[in-house]
Amino acid sequence: MMQDGIYKNAPVSSKGRELIKVVAGEILDKDSARFRLEKLLFDWIKQLAPVLKQLKRLPINLSDHSQIFGLIEQIDQMRSNFDINREADDFLNSLKYALHSNAQHPVKTAILNTLQGQWESYLRNIEGYLIGRQYVAEHPTVMQRLTETYKNHQSYLQNCAEELVQGKSPKNPEKLTKNSNFLDMDLRGQ
């Protein structure tokens, strides 16, 4: 069995703590856990919507590859047109790297890479916390579940990225992942 309250002192945002709470199986009602997980993922992705809106306000045609690739030298100057937050900076950095590596769909690639990079950084942080606080028994399970959470929702993230590129609002994952069995496992069982 896992200890209770693992999430309490985690050095992450309140939403990050809630995610740990879900994957540590501290929300016993599965429907409630699923609902919270979906909302957390949805809120996380939604944070990029304003960034994409700001990108679309720029005088460039995002479906014109030559115009997008022309941005590579201007991205750092473009920052002043964006909100001051980590999402915007991460996205612009990812866009720069996507352009540098000649990604076929640089904006979509940048969205997905931003999300992946944030998730990886989050996992590193949580790993340090779990070990430091001596949640050693819980560490492998929590990390595995967090990794699975990301993997299980990759197609959802892909769809969201596509929608964001098209200027649409991403859909709640419930509509896309209701058949997912991620939360059907016995989360308290290990």
Binding site: Q77, K96, N113, I131, G132
Partner: protein, 446 residues
């Protein structure tokens, strides 16, 4: 929208009795604090007056450092600064604004906006050429010198390999300990006294500890010294684990301070300020700290490694903590090359073989939880670096940055670095007791 940190700066100075001393009055959020900039040592050592651009660079660097330390970071990391700074050459700085913004944004993850206004302070009052103590007619290279192991190794190896070039050691003193540390270390190992120092005293409470702009200040002073010494060479003595490993495993905004991504941007900024701007060399960026030390040992038998200080938290404890990421890397390197038997140096967390974190603590510590978090983070970082997967974003991004800065075969070099680090780290863990708290944390069985 994040509220910007707005600050206006005025310059005053004790013009008659201390010409190479500037006082910057900083006005922000209904408060006023001072920055005291003392560059007399630099001027006297080089025996050349600073020009107007040099003064502007020092002022900008000091104001950036002050703002960076003053404004606490929000949860989402990035802050916005709007700084009104007096400079002598407004046109030059407006031309260089893009490069300055790019450089600082990349380094700190913040948005820096500058409004440059005319510095009406009488320039002639700011120069003070005195006795010549360093001959600048011979070839010179600049080494930013922190007083740590890497600084020492870089200086020794430079002396061995470049006998006809004089190294000039640069320090920037922001507190008493940093001055004492870097000066003492450099004096011990450098009998010729080719140290150059600028003192920067920031007043008031400085709550923000991330202080990512630290190297901007350090390297700007190095660049001024390079220009005054007619050299284009600045040697950065950081090893690969610090330069490449740290941004790969960072949990906050990536630590970009010590690799080509940042120094290329800084070079681009300096190129806007004068012709033949200096280049930053990173001779040990693809080697582990232990490899650099080994290289030093194979070239020199007398090494004052125990006079150096690696701990970044020294001002809090007066002795090296022994468990922060800098200290742990130091102990890993010393152990790898056979210089430390794990108990020979005095650390706050002395005993790496103790069965628990608490038992490893040599002195009473007020905030044990914080110490445990720092120790765990350091150990986990070594493990995470060992296990880095090239598909992760931080890996992809650093490859991109280094390739853009002109580096070749970046992935191969990073992979070799990780392999070496892995070997050293595993050997280090094997040398510890199986019941050691370090081993337990590293292997996840505390």
């Amino acid at each position: 929208m994040t509220k910007p940190f707005i600050m206006d700066v005025n310059i005053s100075s004790k013009t008659i009795d201390k010409p190479s001393f500037l006082v910057l009055d900083c006005f922000f959020e209904n408060q006023q604090n001072k920055i005291e900039l003392d560059y007399a040592h630099l001027v006297n050592k080089i025996n050349k007056p600073l020009n107007k651009t040099d003064i502007d660079m020092l002022v900008i660097a000091a104001v950036v450092a002050f703002a960076d330390r003053k404004k606490l970071r929000p949860q989402k990391w990035a802050r916005q600064f709007k700084l009104k700074i007096p400079v002598y050459d407004i046109d030059v700085w407006q031309t260089a604004h893009k490069q300055l913004f790019d450089c600082l944004n990349f380094l700190t993850g913040d948005r820096w906006h500058f409004e440059f206004i005319a510095n009406t302070f009488h320039f002639e009052n700011m120069i003070e050429p005195e006795l010549q103590t360093i001959k600048t007619s011979e070839p010179v290279a600049i080494i930013p010198f922190s007083g740590g192991l890497d600084s020492l190794a870089t200086l020794h190896l430079f002396r061995i390999h470049e006998k006809h070039t004089k190294p000039l050691l640069i320090t920037v003193n922001t507190n008493h300990n940093s001055r004492k540390l870097s000066f003492n270390t450099s004096r011990i190992i450098d009998k010729l006294d080719t140290r150059v120092s600028v003192s920067m005293k920031l007043s008031g409470r400085l709550d923000e500890i991330s202080y990512r702009s630290r190297v901007f200040v350090f390297f700007m002073v190095a660049a001024i010294t390079a220009r005054l010494s007619n050299t284009q060479r600045i040697i950065i003595g950081e090893n690969g684990q610090g330069s490449i490993g740290a941004p790969l495993v960072s949990v906050d905004y990536p630590y970009h301070s010590l690799h080509f991504g940042f120094t290329k941007r800084l070079h681009d900024l300096l190129s806007q300020l004068w012709d033949n701007a200096p280049f930053f060399e990173h001779p040990y960026i693809w080697q582990t700290k232990a490899e650099v030390l080994q290289l030093l040992l194979s070239n020199s038998s007398e090494i004052d490694w125990n006079k150096t200080i690696s701990c970044s938290r020294l001002r809090e404890t007066s002795i090296q903590c022994g468990i922060c990421s800098n200290c742990l890397l130091r102990r890993l390197a010393l152990t790898t090359v056979g210089l430390e038997n794990l108990v020979s140096e005095n650390y706050l967390w002395q005993d790496l073989n103790a069965p628990t974190l608490e038992a490893a603590l040599k002195h009473t510590q007020k905030n044990l939880n914080t110490e445990i978090n720092i120790a765990s983070r350091a150990i986990v970082s070594h493990e995470q670096f060992r296990k880095i997967n090239p598909s992760i974003q931080s890996y992809q991004q650093i490859v991109c940055e280094l390739e853009k800065a002109g580096q070749q075969q970046v992935e191969e070099k990073i992979n070799r670095l990780i392999k070496c680090h892995t070997q050293e780290w595993e050997q280090f863990l094997n040398k510890l007791n199986p019941d050691s708290w370090v081993v337990k944390v590293a292997l996840g069985r505390a």
